[in-house]
């Protein structure tokens, strides 16, 4: 209700602004290119800027630098590291680091700081999971050994995301007074309002083109208002607010793996309960034919055009567009005839003529839960129900709180949203050993072949080998895999496009595929942004 009102008010006032002849985005319209950049992309880190508590896990940590980095194609490149290698048992990661990096207080960054950062992060109860680390040891000034408790090919993502903190200056107030070796220095943080950062002229890498960057932490409505009145250069807005143009700004659409999909309870309903006492299993969705029929019947293009207003793409799996995506796991969709055929041959028929099929006294119906406050998922759930009705599958879309969804998710289908640059997510969502842990594998999906591929991918020491196993887990070409072409454990629906209004004079390059989470990820390329007029 509140939201609906603000949206319509936004549209009305937008019209008023245009009618009044105001021109926004005045920055850079005349005179020399400004040296200050203003971004309204949300994502304030309320607990401060300490990487050992999870700061910088999306995009750039700004104040600190990381051992490795990802380029726009998500390939791994060196940053602080000059070389890294993994022992043949996968337990020891040896990293050589550059010797010319300095913290902003003038002390050089050494292997001891790297070891300290990893050790601290492994023990801290923050938002970065380095629990796989047994110990981190500085072998000499520029070599560090990271010893793991078990092989973990995805540990590379910790090297990419964990900003290195100085051992000598890391204490309780570090989060509010960060010292690092990154491209920017914290100048001022008005909590709840804005973050002002200054260029670090002693940075060892390519220096940003801006002397100052201001991050404004506004809500959606205030962000739109700020964009329209020309007060910000980049504004992250949900695609529902991206429909009408903003004068002086261009709409930049960034593809993402921020996906939405239907999780099917995979186990049959035998009255089993989870450890927490929640029911497990569903008599309808535990049938592979039903899951495959749903995957075949859905018109994902129509979901993108109808529910997302075109700001997205059809999804075939949880890792679309990432290097470890297996295209063969996809199936053709918008094919109700094939769906009917699959259901018929599995014995689901509409004998009583009420429009919904039955088999052995069980009606082909299931409940599809979505978080009640999420209008996008509501739209998707309702559209899915409409698309499945003609093939004789009755879906009841129902909005609930996350607390209720957590009690129902082993027995009812749920519209989830995921998307990460770390394939650990794919492991967690499909490995049978993790069934019922947190929100992972809520449907109790279990396949020995898929488990074997996921385990092999995790244990691989060679990135290419790991990628091959990640692909095989989706579809191995022999009828196994969690993807729609085999077990169809999920019906993935759409990948969102993240929408940004960017000043017409600002060149933000070619942003890579963004993870779940709209806003901060775009900063990962901020060092390369330029004014073009």
């Amino acid at each position: 209700m509140v939201r609906g009102f603000t949206r319509s008010a936004a549209v009305l006032s937008a019209a008023a602004v245009v009618a009044a002849g105001c021109t926004g985005g005045a920055d850079g319209a005349a005179g020399p290119a400004p040296t200050e950049l203003r971004l309204a992309i949300g994502g304030e880190s309320e607990e401060g800027y300490d990487p050992t508590l999870g700061w910088g896990r999306y995009g750039a940590p700004l104040f600190q630098s990381t051992l490795l980095t990802r380029d726009a194609d998500l390939g791994i490149a060196n940053d602080l590291a000059t070389n890294h290698s993994v022992s043949s048992d996968g337990l020891v990661w040896t990293v050589d680091i550059r010797t010319d990096a300095e913290f902003t207080d003038g002390t050089p960054l050494t292997a001891r700081d790297v070891a300290y950062t990893f050790t601290t992060a492994a023990r801290s109860g923050g938002l970065t999971d380095v629990t796989a680390l047994k110990e981190a040891v500085a072998v000499d000034d520029d070599t560090v050994e990271l010893r793991l408790t078990a092989p973990q090919s995805t540990f590379v993502n910790r090297l990419v995301s964990l900003g290195i903190v100085p051992q000598h200056a890391h204490g309780p107030d570090y989060a509010r007074k960060p010292v690092g070796s990154g491209p920017f220095v914290l100048e001022q943080w008005d909590e709840g309002q804005q973050l002002i950062v200054r260029r670090n002229d002693g940075y060892y890498g390519a220096k940003p083109a801006f002397e100052r960057v201001v991050f404004v932490f506004t809500g959606e409505d205030a962000t739109l208002a700020a964009a329209r009145s020309g007060q910000v250069d980049v504004a992250a807005l949900p695609s529902s607010l991206a429909g009408s143009p903003v004068p002086g700004m261009e709409l930049v659409r960034v593809t993402s793996v921020d996906n939405r999909g239907i999780m099917f309870p995979y186990a049959p309903d035998t009255g089993r309960k989870s450890a927490a006492g929640h029911p497990i299993g569903n008599a309808v969705t535990s049938d592979k034919a039903v899951r495959q029929a749903v995957n075949a019947a859905l018109d994902r293009r129509a979901l993108v055009d109808g529910v997302l207003a075109g700001f997205g793409s059809p999804a075939t799996g949880p890792v679309d567009g990432l290097p470890w995506h297996e295209p063969a796991s996809a199936v053709p969709d918008n094919d109700p005839d094939r769906a009917r055929q699959l259901l018929e041959s599995a014995g689901w028929t509409d004998a009583d003529g009420d429009g919904t099929r039955e088999r052995g006294g069980v009606r082909a119906e299931f409940t599809l839960l979505y978080p009640a406050g999420d209008s996008l998922r509501q739209g998707l759930a309702l559209a899915v129900a409409d698309m499945l009705e003609p093939v004789g599958v009755a879906v009841t879309a129902k909005g609930e709180s996350w607390e209720v969804i957590r009690t129902r998710m082993h027995a009812d289908a749920v519209l989830f949203g995921w998307g990460s640059h770390d394939p650990t997510e794919m492991f967690n969502l499909h490995h049978s050993a993790l069934a019922g842990t947190e929100l992972w594998n809520p449907g109790f999906y279990a396949s020995a072949e898929v488990d074997a591929h996921l385990d092999a991918a995790m244990a691989a020491t060679d990135p290419e080998q790991a990628t091959a196993h990640w692909k095989a887990a989706q579809h191995d070409g022999r009828g196994n895999g969690f993807g729609p072409a085999a077990d169809a454990a999920w019906a993935w629906l759409v990948n969102l496009e993240h929408t940004y209004f960017v000043d017409s004079c600002l060149d933000v390059g070619e942003p890579g595929v963004e993870p779940h989470g709209h806003g901060w990820p775009i900063t990962s390329g901020i060092v390369g942004w330029r004014w073009k007029c």
Binding site: F5, G125, T128, Q193, V216, F217, D221, S420
Partner: protein, 325 residues
Amino acid sequence: MLTALAKRLGRLALLLAAVAVASFALMVNSPVDPVAAYVGGDVAALGPQQRALIVERWGLDDPAPQRFLTWLGNLVRGDFGHSLTFNRPVLEVIGDKFLTSLALMALAWLLSGLLGFALGVVAGVRQGRAADRVITWWAYTLASAPTFWVGLLLLYVFAVSLNWAPVCCAVPIGVPAAEVGPLDRLHHLALPAITLSVVGVAPVVLHTRQAVVATMASDHVAFARAQGDRGLGLVLHRVVRNAAAPALLLQFGSLGELFGGSVLAEQVFSYPGLGAATTTAALGQDVPLLLGIALFTTVLVYAGNAIGDRVHAVVDPRADHRRWR
């Protein structure tokens, strides 16, 4: 006098204890899991081991009664605990945010008190005339308008369409703290303060009007009229003091509502005060901070009511109950 003060303090202590126990009980029985709220969208990346570390860092693995006693023990020693969402001591958070909110609430409080009283007196004196009807109609409209709605209207008219007011925050975008002047702050304060005062103004207007009407009909005003008192003089000398009591009591008694209104007003204007911090703390199940804020506002509201009682007694000696003992 001293015993009266001791009694008041004793009552305050009892009230604080009750508020603390009730708030804590409500929070631990809330279905929101603080770890889930903290983890949020990172749920896929954090394993059970990492969650255990979070629980350990926050001391959530002890049973609830024990956690409460630990908290109480620390409180007695002056330690309000550590805020989970802001990762800093609770007192620092409240201090910081309250300073920001204080300007907002004080301005709104003064605005609604002065404006409400003045309008109430005008309406009461001009009872039944056009001015009275307009003011009363306006007060009823405001009384039924929700804060956030008024705030959004003002935001879109003055900040977006007319571009007179800033769209957010308590300070200008991109300006170093040292260069922010009092005028800048007032500029950012104006819309939220007006929004907040607008809602508090209606009860003051209506009650004052009623009191003025009653006073105008009283014997002493009739006597004053008979002696030739007229117009503004009559109102200022014979009516205002008698009619001020309800407005004063309302103003001092409404500190709680003022705080409640600031939660909404600060949300609409991205104004980083105590109200916005309360929202953040509640969404993140930040028990230490929420308890701290609950105790703080209890003291504030209690003090407001106590001051209201005293001021009322000074304005209207009949209300000084100590004389009747």
